[in-house]
């Protein structure tokens, strides 16, 4: 049986439950790449032009680190998850990009393009076919995986709801899951905030069924499914938290506009925008974070 490699970056954080349960159900072995390191980032930077966004560079670095440990790497291509909506164009090009940048790596992929009638289920059936499973087997595995994902999402939502009513200082950490959970980007912030005894609410803890109604209040025309969640989470949590931190990787296309939308419609809420680049030191970010926390507490009392 082929061993499948799952690079721990970009779409991994959106789909890891789904992928892992799917492969577990089919009894396909898989390996995950390790935590992001500086070395990985350097390797990723060699492979692409310097204008590429930080998350993408990290993703390419992960592939370099994992390519010798597995037989093939899973890279899905996503155009639209929901009808009339799109995702960032980086995800459209992801599969072809990696195929051209790493010509020797074998890639296993599936396509999700609801606008052109390629649903996620069909994608997973196609994935199963490539691994040598019948339609029925992969369909069942997909159903089990989807159920598990739903349970996981409910767990997250429950967590979010609980944290909303906590009595500590609360901060909404708003950003793509692949930025929040990454060791070079979000983890540093999270560990700093946890040290200061602050309750952190993550933007992906917003109830999925509230997304469409919440987003109408801030930006009804936004067409990126992933950024829609961010905007909705801001509206959903904003009255329950003391402050919001926006986390973005440097030249992020969708974020550059949606963050502007949040900053313009934030009203009296306190918002801090932190942009991560590939050559920043911790010190500058921690200084800004510190002053933001001081501001939340109502000024510095020496």
């Amino acid at each position: 049986m082929k061993t499948i490699g799952l690079p721990k970056a970009l779409l991994y954080y959106h789909y890891h439950i789904l992928w892992k349960t799917f492969f577990d159900a089919l009894k396909v072995p898989y390996v995950e790449s390790k935590k992001t390191t500086r070395e990985m980032l350097e390797k990723g930077k060699e492979k692409c032009i310097d204008e590429t966004c930080l998350s993408m560079k990290i993703f390419l670095g992960h592939i370099a680190s994992i390519k010798n440990q597995c037989d093939c790497i899973l890279i899905p291509r996503i155009y639209s998850i929901e009808k009339k909506e799109q995702v960032c164009t980086n995800f459209n090009a992801l599969y072809d990009l990696v195929r051209n940048v790493y010509p020797k790596v074998s890639i296993i992929n599936y396509n999700v393009d609801v606008k052109h009638h390629h649903s996620e289920e069909n994608g997973f059936i196609h994935l199963g076919k490539q691994l040598g499973f019948s339609k029925k087997e992969s369909k069942n595995a997909y159903k089990i995986a989807k159920k598990k994902e739903k349970e996981h999402n409910q767990l997250l939502e429950e967590q979010g709801r609980k944290k909303m009513h906590s009595k500590k200082t609360k901060i909404l950490l708003l950003g793509h899951p692949y930025n929040l959970e990454d060791d070079l980007i979000g983890k540093r912030i999270i560990s700093y905030l946890k040290d200061k005894d602050i309750e952190i609410i993550y933007s992906y803890e917003v109830p999925k069924e509230k997304v469409n109604t919440c987003v109408q209040k801030i930006s009804p025309k936004v067409h990126w499914t992933m950024n829609k969640e961010l905007l909705a989470s801001f509206i959903y949590f904003k009255d329950h938290v003391d402050g919001t931190i926006l986390l973005t990787a440097f030249p992020c296309g969708p974020d550059s506009l949606t963050n502007e939308m949040i900053l313009r419609k934030k009203g009296k809420n306190k918002v801090l925008l932190l942009t991560f680049e590939d050559l920043n030191s911790d010190v500058a970010i921690l200084t800004r974070l510190e002053s933001f926390l001081d501001m939340l507490k109502g000024g510095i009392h020496l």
Partner: protein, 362 residues
């Protein structure tokens, strides 16, 4: 209040679009002031800083038009960030304190006939479907003829003997077209100018340099955004082939896409977003048709092109095609562009001479 319409600049297409809006609404259409350094300064002052350059140009255009008294603004939309431009620009302009109505023509990712009709019906209650279709058809032919004439001119403009002969010709063509009332006179004018353009005296050597112009749509079509790259190329006596024009984006692309997908199967299995796949295909096309080099332009931070660039680089390397990448932002350092262009020109001429000599050696 009297309605005054305005829309952002896009090369020479302001004329057909202005004509279309006038025909459909019978309202006053404002000539948006030409793009200057002030426009881009206004735009980048008010726009978020990591957004791509077309956003800033358009925002600058809108602010200048609003200052002149426009109160109905038009914006289109496309496959990438462009689709979300309208809403953010509207928010920014409202925050600046202007009073206006903002209309997005392409709200989804492609043009919808019914949606468009309702938009203009709201502006002009007397509009009938018949006049609507008639005006659209007129604009369709206008744009097609303009693009066709442009293509002829681009082949010959680098070798003109009398300076600015083609520019004058094109301006006259636009002037006459904007005055004409129906498609038949439009067609007549087109053929008249086609004949005229072939009569303009040129001095074209047989083995002149030929360069393809690919890249993102706004920097390809708006000459201010690419620092008049085409004019500079013409001064070097280079024949230019440009793919992106409005008729391509609006209807030709949809017809052409399955064919292109088949041709670039080796490199791309799926579309890359916006014009990414098209640009990969164009590299192959230019190689096949004996072009000497390629110039790729994009605004800084254009996500679809960034995704496609490593693939384009690989294709160009495999096909041994010299390629020059330009990434434009709001800074206007023109000398850097000139130097790079000059070096590229030297490289192309040297390569051409070498090839020519090796022909005789063998």
């Amino acid at each position: 209040m009297k309605k005054v319409l305005a829309f952002p600049h896009l090369g020479d297409y302001k004329h057909p679009i202005k004509k279309l809006l006038q025909d459909l609404t019978h309202l006053e259409v404002l000539d948006t002031p030409p793009i200057t350094k002030k426009t881009i300064a206004l735009g980048s002052k008010n726009a978020p800083d990591s957004v791509c350059v077309p956003f800033k140009y358009n925002l600058g255009n809108f602010i200048e038009a609003l200052e002149l008294g426009a109160n109905v603004l038009f914006q289109a939309g496309g496959g990438c960030r462009y689709r979300y431009y309208a809403e953010v620009q509207e928010t920014i302009l409202r925050d600046l304190g202007y009073d206006f109505t903002f209309i997005q023509i392409i709200g989804r990712d492609h043009l919808r006939f019914k949606e468009l009709y309702h938009i203009f019906k709201n502006l002009n209650p007397k509009l009938t479907k018949r006049t609507f279709i008639k005006a659209l058809l007129f604009a369709f032919f206008y744009i097609t003829y303009l693009d066709k004439l442009d293509e002829i001119i681009r082949h010959r403009v680098g070798f003109e003997i009398e300076e600015n002969a083609f520019l004058k010709l094109k301006n006259n063509f636009i002037k006459e077209c904007s005055k004409s009332k129906n498609i038949f006179t439009l067609t007549k004018i087109y053929y008249k100018y086609k004949k005229k353009s072939k009569k303009v005296k040129i001095k074209k050597p047989k083995n002149c340099l030929k360069v393809g112009f690919i890249g993102e749509l706004y920097t390809a079509m708006e000459s201010f955004a690419n620092y008049e790259l085409e004019k500079k190329l013409a001064k070097y006596h280079i024949e230019i082939k440009r793919f992106t024009n409005l008729s391509y984006l609006l209807w030709k692309k949809a017809l052409f896409l399955p064919f292109m997908k088949r041709k670039v199967k080796k490199y791309c299995k799926y579309t890359l977003g916006a014009d990414g796949l098209d640009n990969v295909y164009r590299v192959l096309w230019l190689k096949k048709h004996g072009y000497d080099g390629i110039i790729h332009t994009k605004p800084t931070g254009c996500t679809p092109e960034i995704g496609a660039l490593p693939i384009i680089m690989k294709v160009a390397k495999e096909e041994k095609m010299p390629i020059l990448f330009f990434s434009f932002d709001e800074q206007s350092g023109i000398e850097g562009i000139n130097t790079r262009l000059e070096a590229f020109y030297d490289l192309l001429t040297l390569k051409k001479e070498e090839e020519y000599e090796s022909l005789f050696r063998n």
